[in-house]
Assembly symmetry: D3
Homo-oligomer: 135 residues x 6
């Protein structure tokens, strides 16, 4: 088993806000991240696929193909967008980076033609990131 990873970037806005709670609760809990007009990040996404290298190609999965899949299914929908308003698969989900990682997993899980999705890693800033393995 070899694990291959493609790294991609996108720029998006988000606002952390839970509409079930009061504005005061949201401001206290989410602090700066609750700014009404939102704020944004250059997110770095790493998608890891686990599998055996194909003996004919030496590839677990052709990374050019993996890149196109992730661009079609994820990047095109989130790059230069606002997570709270513009991304269909994030509707009614608080766009914490934990929830973004889980949502990306669900979008990608059954779209990988060779090998299996092993990990979603997302850097939100240069000093914080999350990892999700599907359960």
């Amino acid at each position: 088993m070899v694990y291959v990873t493609k790294r991609l970037t996108f720029s998006a806005s988000h606002r952390l806000h839970n509409p079930k709670f009061s504005d005061e609760w949201n401001k206290e809990v989410f602090d700066k991240c609750n700014n009404p007009n939102g704020h944004g990040h250059n997110y770095v996404l790493e998608v890891t696929i686990a599998g055996e290298p194909n003996p004919d190609t030496g590839y677990v999965i052709d990374l050019k193909i993996l890149k196109k899949i992730v661009e079609n299914i994820i990047i095109d929908k989130v790059d230069h967008k606002h997570f709270n308003t513009d991304v269909d698969f994030m509707i009614n989900i608080i766009p914490s980076v934990e929830n973004i990682a889980i949502a990306f997993w669900k979008e990608l899980e059954d779209k990988i033609p060779n090998g299996k999705l092993y990990k979603i890693k997302i850097w939100e800033t240069e000093n914080s990131y999350v990892e999700y393995f599907g359960n």
Copy 2:
């Protein structure tokens, strides 16, 4: 003359849109950057001061002091904010990274207690940055 630089980061949203022109013009010119709900970046700001080291301290400027000045005058006003709506000194300015650099220069220029402001450099993504030397 020695040039000392402090690097700081902030996360903000912006939308490139010129209200003097039609929505079609804006969409064609600014493309993805014109998304109505905005998008965001982890900006990296480098502030460079030129001066002679003080013989008593070896410092051109104490970088802890420079950091506090930049945090007070810039970072606190832009971090986790939306450039188009939340930043007083950017009102009526298209928040391209070029214009952000020029605006930061104006805010900082006469606030440096030792040495002189020499350069503002801003990375908007890991693949693009601007530099401004005050004229």
Copy 3:
């Protein structure tokens, strides 16, 4: 289960020296790292917490809170310090980066209010790092 990581940095000195052995032994084994006056590093610390995102916040743990905890318990005690003489929880421990990671784990293990401490990773230079999972 989602794994969230906060990255922090600190600058410290250390000297690798085992007082149970002769100076010759120490010089041969630790070489440059045995320099009597010590030497130093910009250490990069990554603290990883594993847990389920809270449905109200989307957070495994609020990274602002995790950052404050790590600053209080670790960074304030080691930043701009000498590991061999200035850090109470490293007394009588050879400050190899392996031992530093184990010591940080012990300090942090029962101080995490949400989720569980999963990993301590420390970069000593840009070309070497250690990881410790608690056993």
Copy 4:
């Protein structure tokens, strides 16, 4: 158990080509990577060793020793070389980064004097890497 990692770099050429198949197949499958005169990369290699720190030294393995081993067994044979023609242990192997990682594992596996080889990680570009754990 602590995991220690040494990071090293090397620059090499390769061409992805499977001589069992036609030139057309190779061109379609490997695309740009099939360029007849090859192309190259600055590969980044991370070698991870797992073990208990030695109580006398605090080391799982002296990283200066690990570095020399990897330089002798791997780097000296691949740095500034062409994988398809110059590297004895890659003869008849398609030099995909997956296969390079597996080949490096085989070369290093029984050469580690302290601890056990745990992982080979290779970055081929700043946006793609593989990891191999030996099976």
Copy 5:
């Protein structure tokens, strides 16, 4: 005047060899870089344009346009290629990174629609780079 920079990467092979001199001379002077089958790098190219921001857009030059120009004129010709054999504008030029920078300047100099080409910077490895300002 504001200076805007776009960063792009490409992977290529080269061999340092001067056919005017003997093989011995080439081996002594270029050492590992003279390997007959070549070796390669992930080059990082930074293209800097100097100009006044356009008042309508805030741009010195639209970086999406600059990126396409550099891709068409440079990247498509050198990415996944061998400098000594595959790149028309490098014929009969020793592909040292100094000469590559000068050659890129000549290709790009009169193709910039807004602002003026100010600097070509090329990283050959993470530890070495050159800068060329056109004279």
Copy 6:
């Protein structure tokens, strides 16, 4: 004229302290950097040489030779050392990074066999650096 830069790293300790002044003055001015037992950094040094590429080699200066010169004259004297006590050319100089850059310039200025020393740049942390051009 082409500018070529070699990047090297070293790890050292220092203490900012001016013996002409009282301990109170030093503690107030230098704060954490005045810690009596010192602290340390992974310094990153960039040495830039300006010159014309030699037509026979394409080199301004062979970077392997530049690297050896900087290692002999600088790195071997400061790596894994304490600036205040172990470095002959820093005796009686407050080891601020500004003063380190000026001292390195003096050591290197007349030792460059091809081209001229153009710039010394030193990163003290990932968030601060100085540049010195010799006057």
